[in-house]
Point group: C2
Chain length 389, copies 2
C-alpha cells in the first residue's frame, strides 16, 4: 500500500494527465460504437413526425407552436420552425435563453412568471425576440408591466384559463375579463389572447374518451370567448392543445395555435394510447444501454436508470426484444426479466429502450445523438437542460 | 407586426447583448434572495450528519466510504474525507472523473463495468488514484485485466455477491470462489474482497424489520466467508450497507466498510422510516420554490416539478407549513392543496420542500447553494451531474 501510495503521488506531479470524460459518440460512428447510456434520436422517424404534425396543423389553418420544454434542444426547434412552426413555447424564462441565442425569434412562455430576477431576464429577452407570457393574477400583470417599463421593453400577454387541468389559470369569465381589462390599461404589455391548455386529457387511453375531454375543454373556452365578445374584448390567440388531443384541437375552430411537444419523439406515456386512424407518430427517441450483468438465466441488468430515464410515469419499454421486460429502475440500473434463457441478452449486448416520459428524460442528458439508420449523423447539445428558473 | 419585426432585426446587429442565464445566488445573499427553483444545503445540519455517521463507523472500527452517487459533488466528498472517510464510492466510471480531478485518491466503483470505452477510462483513472471495481462475471474480469495490462495500470477487485437485492452479483459461494480464483490468476488486477450491498432493505419502515433484513443479508455474507476460508481465500474487504441499515451493519462484525450516501442529506424516502434511538440524521437538503399561482382559495402552484425534484418515489414534503401538502408534480409545477384559505401561501411566497429521493434530485441540478442559517455561504458545482457512463 505504501508503495502504491508513492506511485500515485508520483503520478500527481504537474505532468499528470488531466482526464476528461470522453465523448459518447463521434460523427459517422455506427450506432453499435456509441457508448452507453446515451439518448438517441432516429432522424428518419423524427423528421416524419415533424412533417405529420405540421401538415395536420396547416390543413386546418392552425399555427403549430411546438413546446421547447419537451426537448430543450435549439437544433430541434430550428428544424421545427424551418418546416413552418410559428415559433416555440418555453415553460420557463431561463429555458428560453439558449433558444433566443440560437436565433428563435418568437417564444411563448406558456406559464406564469413571478419574481424580479425572472421578470428582468424576460424583459431582456423581449428586446431580442417576440416574447409572449401568461398571467393569471392582477399583481403578476402589474409587476410584468413595471419591469417592461423599467427595461424599455414590451411584451404580449395571454391570460391563462383553467380549462380542467386544475393547475394555474383564472377560474371564471368575470375573473378573466377583469384581468384582460387591467392588462389593456397597463403600459408596455398588450393583451394577445388566452392560453387554454389541458395536460390531463392528453394521456387518456381511448380516442373517444380523449375526444370527449377535448370537446369539454373547447366548450369551456367558447364560454369564455362569448363573455369576452359581450364585453367588447377581441381575443386573437387561443393557444393550447397537445400531442394527445391535437387531432381534435386543430379541428375545434377555437384553438388558433397548438403547443404539442412529444409528437416529435413519442414515449411510453403516449405509446399506450389509442390513436385511431386520423394521425400517428413514430418512436424516434430511445435510450441506448448495455447489459452489464446477467446474474441468473432469466435476469439481465442494463446500465441505465433514474439518472438517464425519467421513471415517475413507469419503467421504459424494451424495443425489438420478445420475452424481455423491464421490472425495476434503480439509480443507475434497470432490471430486466426474460421469460426464458433464450430471450435473456448476454453481457455486452446493446439494447434500445423507449423512455416513459420524454420531457424529463431529455432534461437528464447534455446531448442527444442523432442517427440516420445505423450511423451517427449529428450530436446536438440539449442546451436548455437544467434551466428551470 | 412588420414594425416589431424590424425592431427585432435591428436588435440582431452585432451590438446586440448576448444574454446569459444569471446565477441563482451570490455568496452572502440572504436565502430569501435566492432565485428559484434552487437546491439548498443547510450546512449546520449537513455537517452534523457527517459527524454522526463518521462517529458511528469509528466507534465500531468500520471504515466509512460514502457514496458519491448521492451528491455527485466533489466539495462534499472532500468534506467527508477530511472528517475521516476512507474514500468514496462512485456508481459509474465517468462519475469518478471530477472526484479524481478534485483530489479524491481512493474510489470504489461499486458496480460492474462493461465495454472498452469505460474500461479504458477506468485504467487511466487507476493511474492517478487507488481504484477498486466490482466484477460478477469471468468475462468481465478477463476484459478488466486485459485493459489494465494494455494501459500498464493496476486495480483492485471486489467480487459482488447478490445478498437479496436481486440486481447484480454472483448467486452462490461456488460461483464466487471460481471468480475469485480467476481474478487471483489474472495480471494487473488483484482480489481485495467482496461487495454485499442490499438496497432493498434500506427503506423498510420499521426498525425491527430493517434489523431482521440486515441480519439475513449478514448471515448470507457469513456463508460466503466460511466457504472462502475453506477454499483458503482471504477476504480483507466486505463493503456494503447504507443509511437505513448502517447502525446494524457497523455492529455486524462482517462489514469492513459501509457505503452510506443519503445520511448526509436525508429525503422523504428515508424520513418515513423508524430510526429508533440509536442514531438519527437531520434534513439538510431541500428545494427552494416560489408560489407562482393561487388560482383558488385552497390551491397554490409552486414553480418546481419533475425537472427539479425526482418524483418516482413520491411527491416532495413541504417544510414548516401546516395544512399544506403537495398533491401532484408536473414537469415544472407542483400542485399544493391547503386545508383552508388561511394555510394557502400567497403568490410570491418562498417554500422549502424536501425531495422524495436525494440521489436523482442532485442529478438534476448544476450546483447546490450551501447556506449557513439564513445566508449563502458557498455555491458548490455538482460536477458529476449527468455523468452516467
Amino acid at each position: 500500500m505504501q508503495e502504491a501510495q508513492q506511485a500515485v503521488l508520483k503520478n500527481e506531479s504537474p505532468q499528470a494527465e488531466t482526464i476528461a470524460v470522453p465523448l459518447a459518440a463521434r460523427l459517422g460512428d455506427p450506432l453499435s460504437a456509441v457508448d452507453t447510456p446515451s439518448l438517441i434520436l432516429d432522424l428518419d422517424a423524427f423528421e416524419e413526425n415533424l412533417r405529420t404534425m405540421q401538415v395536420l396543423a396547416e390543413r386546418h389553418g392552425v399555427a403549430l407552436r411546438p413546446h421547447g420544454k419537451a426537448h430543450k434542444c435549439p437544433e430541434i426547434a430550428l428544424r421545427q420552425i424551418a418546416l413552418g412552426a410559428t415559433g416555440i413555447c418555453c415553460q420557463k424564462v431561463s429555458e428560453a435563453v439558449p433558444f433566443v441565442a440560437a436565433g428563435v425569434r418568437d417564444i411563448l412562455i406558456s406559464n406564469e412568471v413571478v419574481g424580479p430576477a425572472k421578470l428582468a431576464l424576460l424583459a431582456r429577452l423581449a428586446k431580442q425576440a417576440h416574447m409572449t407570457v401568461c398571467v393569471d393574477h392582477p399583481r403578476a400583470a402589474q409587476a410584468l408591466s413595471a419591469t417592461m417599463v423599467e427595461y424599455q421593453a414590451s411584451i404580449k400577454v395571454l391570460v391563462e384559463l383553467d380549462v380542467g387541468q386544475k393547475r394555474c389559470g383564472v377560474q371564471t369569465p368575470d375573473e378573466a375579463i377583469a384581468l384582460i381589462q387591467l392588462v389593456q390599461k397597463l403600459p408596455n404589455i398588450s393583451f394577445a389572447g388566452v392560453q387554454a391548455y389541458h395536460g390531463g386529457l392528453q394521456h387518456k387511453r381511448s380516442l373517444e374518451q380523449r375526444q370527449k375531454a377535448a370537446e369539454k375543454a373547447v366548450r369551456l373556452v367558447r364560454q369564455y370567448l362569448r363573455a369576452f365578445a359581450k364585453a367588447g374584448i377581441t381575443c386573437p390567440v387561443v393557444s393550447g392543445g397537445g400531442t394527445g388531443s391535437a387531432v381534435f384541437d386543430v379541428a375545434s375552430q377555437v384553438y388558433t395555435e397548438i403547443q404539442a411537444g412529444t409528437y416529435a419523439f413519442m414515449d411510453t406515456d403516449y405509446a399506450g394510447i389509442d390513436w385511431g386512424e386520423a394521425v400517428s407518430f413514430r418512436h424516434s427517441l430511445f435510450l441506448l444501454g448495455t447489459v452489464m450483468s446477467t446474474p441468473t438465466p432469466e435476469r439481465a441488468v442494463v446500465d441505465l436508470g433514474l439518472k438517464s430515464t425519467s421513471a415517475e410515469s413507469g419503467v421504459p419499454l424494451i424495443m425489438d426484444h420478445e420475452g424481455l421486460r423491464c421490472v425495476a429502475v434503480h439509480d443507475e440500473h434497470s432490471i430486466l426479466q426474460a421469460d426464458s434463457r433464450r430471450n435473456r441478452p448476454d453481457v455486452g449486448a446493446q439494447l434500445r429502450l423507449i423512455p416513459a416520459h420524454c420531457d424529463p428524460t431529455f432534461n437528464l442528458h447534455d446531448s442527444v445523438v442523432a442517427v440516420r439508420g445505423q450511423y451517427v449523423e449529428a450530436i446536438w447539445p440539449i442546451s436548455a437542460r437544467g434551466l428551470s428558473r
